[in-house]
């Protein structure tokens, strides 16, 4: 761990230096383990946020329980275990599309690298970020610094649109939507993709995870259209392996 930033009262951004330089794809994640604390036996999944060099990147997270508390308590030069990059990230189209990114709360991290990759391919990218209140809006400056247009929404109207961030969607022209955030927000994006329709809308999901690499079957999410060949076995997909990014119509939650 190299540096610790605090972009919001209950959120921490940790900059880390990795021993190898396996470049992650937007939407992929890492399993992070700290020490041998009693409540941190399982590693915790976190999306990577900004990449500064092939071996230096950051993680942005909200402190909600013992795992994120232990991470937040790290001091520069402390070491931790990181496994990754893991999972299937966002498919980045080669054409210069009109993309809208939607990030709720700590759903912003995967959108940073996605936004950058889309811009590199000539896309026109708008990022919508939402939070309960102004101080919870994350990544606005960082996304703007990439060259994205950023609009904001807060539940209490203290900044930007007052209401769910997804209410900004209908006003935009988009070929594809990419979203990451809390379940109700993702459900609203799903509904929007169905209504337009916007088939190439992708959602980054979360799930409780034990392993992060496909062996525990803990991170189940229901498939919308199970493969009939698999029978009941096809009911659930693994968020860590088949996801965390799914097309909007692949999953039910």
């Amino acid at each position: 761990m190299v540096e610790r930033l605090q972009p919001a009262p209950d959120c921490v951004e940790l900059v880390m230096e990795f021993p190898d330089d396996e470049a992650p794809k937007p939407g992929q994640f890492y399993m992070l383990s700290t020490g041998d604390g009693r409540d941190t036996y399982l590693p915790r999944p976190l999306s990577f946020y900004r990449t500064f060099s092939p071996r230096r990147m950051s993680f942005l997270f909200r402190v909600v329980g013992p795992g994120t508390q232990a991470l937040a308590a790290l001091k520069p030069r402390d070491r931790l275990q990181a496994m990754g990059p893991l999972g299937r990230g966002f498919p980045v189209p080669d054409q210069p599309i009109r993309a809208v990114l939607v990030g709720g709360g700590v759903g912003v991290p995967p959108l940073w690298s996605l936004g950058r990759a889309l811009l590199e391919r000539g896309a026109k990218v708008t990022a919508l970020i939402g939070a309960r209140t102004r101080s919870g809006l994350l990544g606005q400056a960082e996304l703007q610094a990439l060259g994205l247009e950023v609009r904001t929404a807060t539940d209490d109207g203290t900044r930007g649109h007052r209401g769910p961030v997804t209410e900004l969607l209908p006003g935009l022209d988009a070929d594809q939507v990419f979203a990451c955030g809390p379940e109700p927000m993702l459900r609203a994006v799903q509904a929007f993709a169905a209504s337009r329709p916007l088939p190439d809308t992708y959602l980054a999901l979360e799930a409780a995870m034990a392993c992060g690499y496909g062996v525990c079957l803990g991170c189940a999410v229901e498939r919308a259209k199970p493969d009939p060949e698999l029978g009941p076995y096809g009911t659930y997909a693994r968020v860590c392996r088949e996801g965390p990014v799914f097309r909007w119509d692949e999953v039910k939650f």
Partner: protein
Amino acid sequence: MEMATKLAGLSFKNPVLTASGTFGYGREAAELYDLATLGGVMVKGVSREPWSGNPPTRIARAPGGMLNAIGLQNPGLDHFLAVDLPFLRAYDTKVVVNVVGHDEEGFLAVVRGVDGQAGVAAIELNISCPNVADGLLFSQDPARAAQLVARVRLETSLPLIVKISPNVTDPVALGAACAEAGADALSAINTLLGMAIDVERRRPVIANRTGGLSGPAVKPVGLRIVYDLARSLAIPVIGMGGIESGRDALEYLMAGARAVAVGTAVFRDPLAPPRIIGELERELEAAGFASVAEAWAAANPQAKERVS
């Protein structure tokens, strides 16, 4: 260091296996290291038909471990035979097939299906899963367990391992009934029934409400049950529950296990099984043992089983 171990007529190159349900069918770990380094692989439970498993949330953290209620999601016998077994067969390691069923017929169908298949070293009957409605049915009554084992025994000449539940009053009575009915070995322990409460959502964290506790937290319970089984029964025991280091593995061997399995530890460290093999070698050396066989039951002088 002589790392080989024998049990139930099987020779393992070393005593470290992977525990059922924490290793899938080996595909993910094979991306990380050569499965041939392992003493053996105990695969995720296989049922006659494919099973969907439980709805999420299936996982919760716990002090010194975790809770799970996967509910034995698995692709079923046919898929296992067509896809997973051929994959595993390619590695020079012993494949133990963990078998589950909702009822006797369910178990028997899978046993018949795997019997005689190339690459299957042994069968492990999972009569102790706390996460499916009828999972503990056979564990809760030694007589029912014995009846199942006796019927399975008629269907296969493969070494038969029965997995013992820690959620019973008398694991030794359960093990004895299984031994009597024809089990060649026992594995212990499966997970302990537990629960986590989500204070914010005002409900159990796990959708299934209860889940199975595993990881270091359960190591003392596993050691106790392995010690008691080894002291009372003449058939060998494969020990598991909370093993995350070579030292832990050695403790199980000294308690009376002929071999051990590594479960939850692979979630924290996917390379745990090969790491533990190396550590165990050094721990055996440091403790003054010349072989795995010598460490066997070194802390359990009344252990009964002799070389098989």
